[in-house]
Amino acid sequence: MKVELVVNGGHRVVRVEPGETLLEALRADGYTSVKNGCANGDCGACAVLVDGRAAASCLLFAAQVEGREIITIEGLTGADQAYHPLQRTMLDAGGVQCGFCIPAMILTAADLLARNPEPTRDEITSYLSGNLCRCTGYAKQIEAIEMAAAILREGGVDG
């Protein structure tokens, strides 16, 4: 079937199987930043934003999100490859090791900060509870999110 996906502001008509998940459709369409860590809804590495809310793309059929706005990390990166504050702080804080969980982690954090500009540590860990990382122990990722929240509150866009 043909499904119109709105990815990072662009309208893409993709051919998908009826039983194909958004994760599969996005990766097949070249958005390899969306990771397959388990395809079972357990690890969060496949998270994207759908209408601004973080979603596990392995739990959505591609057809389900036709016409809805999907953002992957490519859509968060600025023009001229400028960093979103979360991308910069994740590097500054040392929250990136292997990087496999990072696009999803950043997108989920972006969702959090959009609706809660000054989250407590508990609110951060609660909102990120579905994003597993096996490398970092989360400490520096949480620090990065706190740093980015401060930058965003001060009106910084480039971090």
Partner: protein
């Protein structure tokens, strides 16, 4: 020490950081798919122990999209080991690509290559296999009992210690006389601990792509920790000369030891060789849990004897290790249980270490961060607390009194190597005393120890543990580095060393940048391509910073000397008077030239030559990093739940090349260790079939399950290491089990001896208190 450096000691952004935070296609499964790509599906055994009586692929062969089916009838019969170790690998050669016998639920039966994964999977389901069931052996006790079924009864396996008794490996090491030692001791304690099956569960599963390049050479792009071992082992297994194989490691999404293995590369490689087409095998999460590698479950008995003043006098350690269905890493992990633990308390002159690694019809245990030390420290560090308790000593003071110090040695260093005799060594850097002091202060040891502070049904306690590991395998590991200079005073650094997310590309770049006085971005790091980069054993045994780092330092020093030679030519100066600083060579008489001027001259000007060097480092020592861990737990006496309230790690890794990176390695290891201590467990039914085959059932810690991990880097200076550095990647994972166990004891009086410390297990222990 670190403040005398410009680039080293700075927490710079990772050199691959931009690619990772912007989601560039840098992982093996992200790379563009080649035309004609064949996808591989595996058929694995549903039985824990069986002979393949017959296998019929005729139905499958004619199914849509199917290109090739592999099974024991059409693949090499030679025995080998999948262990990614140096040659000759110190692991039994007991594996075949496809055997006529299956030895665990998840063992290979057949592989189908087809135009799509779905078609391959459908065809795999259409393969008809007749199994002759054999009695499964599911515990080590059953395995070594008289009359147990023999798991490896093949006649062509090599280096199995005693296959008839299912013993893959056996180790003994002694010093002094333990019997006498215990007799002379004033206090003796004995503890037996048991650790469970655990899985690395990296977010990225195993992925391998293969193709024939334009010259017909086999190229393997694989998520591996050991590209050079992959090349050699695949070459040997598939009878392809090494010069006809290229192995490339892209970015890896975590490994932790599960990718120190030639686990899957042989399958797409053989498919490509037979069909001429590119091939890919991507493990599903399910396959990661059932058909890859795990940590060795172990039962370890430790007996300690000490004099009344606390000085340790005798240590006995007896290990029974479950190596699963095949013996990869069986001997070396077993040896490490002792070699990475016993030297820590070198005061005891009487030592006995012995152990057996035993086959069972369960998943294959292999390399997993910590590599035996994790299991060993549970027994040792809880025995230490018990010993201190019996002597009425603060366990912190006991450790201060007994731990190894700079200038000291232990007989274990030479008695226990990796599959052979080890090497004598003396500790040349050790800040453990300071680690203990700082960690204790940070956690509030004096204030909290013994207080059992209560909040509702939660009772608090603090515990500690101390550790050493190693920095590479002495006399066995080797790493090399090549540096060449470009027109503008930038450099290419080519290293075999394998960054699996550890940040080694970055820190090795920092070492080169430091010596060459350039900013990090002027060092272009290329790693882990067997055609381009010089040799490196790969990322394991905490080797990269120390071994590969030293090779980088040597190569950089050589290049620096060449730079000065050219500068001398250009400036006409007396040899002694030149200094290289901030990308400029200055003579004492005031003349100077910049690196880019030197670059232009050497490539295009006069006396042209390529400034460059290749150097290797094969260490004769393995200077240990040290770690003191302090943990505060809260135990809910109503439910048995254990919460880690704080976890402080004070670490001596010599000079931290990139402090945030070093902390990150420690914190990730601690997190993994906490998961293994409290939640993670592979569970099997009575027929050996796995129950925990996804992240829903095998629980790794999420952000809500961990406190804000605290890491204190306590610097020492390792004179034999690059810029004074030692390695740091593994040591953290050994701390949580004993630190948590000791903290639970402080809180409740319970001595727990079996992991994971699940709520029910703790509750039951509380009931029988």
């Amino acid at each position: 020490m670190a403040d005398k450096f410009n680039v080293v000691g700075a927490s710079l952004h990772r050199v691959d950081g931009r690619a990772l935070v912007t989601g560039k296609p840098v992982f093996a499964d992200d790379l563009p798919k080649r035309a004609g790509l064949l996808h591989i599906a595996l058929l694995t055994s549903p039985h824990a122990h069986a002979r393949i009586a017959s296998i019929d692929t005729t139905r499958a062969e004619v199914m849509p999209g199917v290109s090739l089916i592999l099974d024991h009838r059409n693949t090499p019969e030679r025995r080998y080991t999948t262990a990614g170790q140096g040659y000759p690998e110190p692991s039994p050669y007991d594996a075949r690509m496809f055997d006529t016998k299956v030895r665990w639920v998840g063992d290979r039966v057949a592989a189908v290559a087809a135009a799509s994964l779905l078609e391959a999977q459908r065809a795999a389901e259409a393969i008809d296999v007749e199994y002759q069931l054999l009695e499964p052996v599911l515990t080590v006790d059953e395995a070594i009992a008289q009359g147990a079924p023999v798991i490896h009864d093949e006649d062509d396996a090599l280096d199995i210690w005693d296959g008839s008794r299912n013993i893959a490996a056996h180790v003994v090491a002694t010093a002094g006389d333990v019997a006498q030692g215990f007799a002379e001791s004033d206090a003796v304690v004995e503890v037996t601990t048991e650790t469970q099956y655990g899985q690395h569960a990296p977010l990225e599963p195993h992925v391998a792509n293969t193709y024939l390049d334009e010259n017909g050479r086999l190229v393997i792009v694989t998520s591996t920790q050991v590209p050079f071992h992959v090349r050699r082992i695949i070459g040997m297994l598939l009878d392809v000369p090494i010069h006809r194989i290229r192995v490339i490691k892209p970015r890896i999404g975590g490994g932790f030891g599960v990718k120190q293995e030639v686990l899957i590369e042989d399958l797409p490689a053989l498919v490509t060789l037979r069909t001429g087409l590119p091939a890919e095998l991507v493990y599903s999460r399910h396959q990661e849990f059932i058909s890859s590698r795990t940590r060795h479950p172990m039962r370890i008995r430790v007996k300690l004897g000490a004099k009344s003043d606390g000085r340790l006098h005798a240590i006995e350690m007896d290990v029974l290790s479950n190596t699963g269905a095949y013996g990869a890493h069986s001997l070396t992990v077993l040896s490490n249980v002792g070699s990475k633990t016993l030297p820590l308390y070198n005061k005891a002159p009487n030592l006995l270490f012995k152990g057996d690694a035993v086959y069972t019809n369960l998943p294959v245990a292999g390399a997993y961060r910590g590599y035996g030390a994790t299991q060993g420290y549970f027994a040792l560090e809880t025995a230490v607390d018990r010993l201190a308790s019996s002597l009425d000593m603060d366990p912190l003071d006991w450790r201060l009194r007994n731990h190894i110090q700079e200038g000291e040695t232990s007989p274990i260093f030479v008695a226990l190597g990796e599959g052979r005799e080890g090497v004598e060594q003396t500790i040349t850097s050790c800040a453990l005393t300071e680690c203990i002091r700082q960690g204790a202060e940070r956690i509030g040891w004096e204030e909290k120890r013994g207080k059992r502070e209560r909040h509702g049904s939660w009772v608090h306690g603090v515990g500690m543990s101390v550790h050493m590991q190693g920095s590479g395998i002495p006399a066995i590991d080797m790493g090399a580095a090549t540096i060449k200079m470009n027109d503008n005073g930038s450099f290419n650094l080519l290293i075999g060393a394998t960054d699996l997310g550890t940040g080694s590309d970055t820190i090795l770049g920092q070492i080169a940048a430091e010596v060459l006085t350039v900013p990090l971005e002027k060092v272009i790091v290329t790693s882990s391509d067997t055609d381009i980069t010089p040799f490196d054993v790969g990322a394991y045994a905490s080797s990269t910073t120390y071994v590969s780092g030293m090779a980088v330092q040597r190569a950089a020093a050589d290049v620096r000397a060449q730079i000065l030679d050219v500068a001398r030519e250009m400036l006409g100066s007396d040899p002694a008077s030149l200094t290289l600083e901030d990308e400029r060579v200055t003579a004492s008489n005031g003349g100077s030239v910049t690196l880019d001027q030197i670059g232009i001259r050497t490539l295009y000007g006069e006396n042209q030559r390529q400034i460059g060097a290749t150097h290797s480092f094969a260490p004769q020592l393995s200077p240990p990093p040290f770690l003191a861990a302090f943990c505060e737990v809260a135990v809910d006496e109503d439910t048995g739940q254990v919460a880690v309230v704080r976890f402080v790690s004070a670490v001596d890794c010599g000079t931290p090349i990139n402090p945030r990176s070093a902390e990150g390695q420690v914190e990730g290891a601690i997190a993994n260790g906490i998961g293994y201590a409290l939640y993670e467990e592979l569970v099997f039914d009575a027929m050996g079939r796995p129950k925990t085959t996804d992240y829903a059932r095998y629980k790794v810690p999420g952000p809500q399950d961990l406190p804000r991990l605290e890491t204190i880097l306590v610097e020492s200076y390792e004179p034999t290491g690059p810029m004074g550095a030692k390695s740091v990647s593994e040591i953290g994972i050994n701390a949580p089990i004993p630190a948590i166990a000791n903290a639970i004891h402080d809180a409740t009086g319970l001595w727990l001896t079996k992991t994971p410390f699940t709520a029910e297990r703790v509750w039951r222990a509380l009931q029988s208190r």
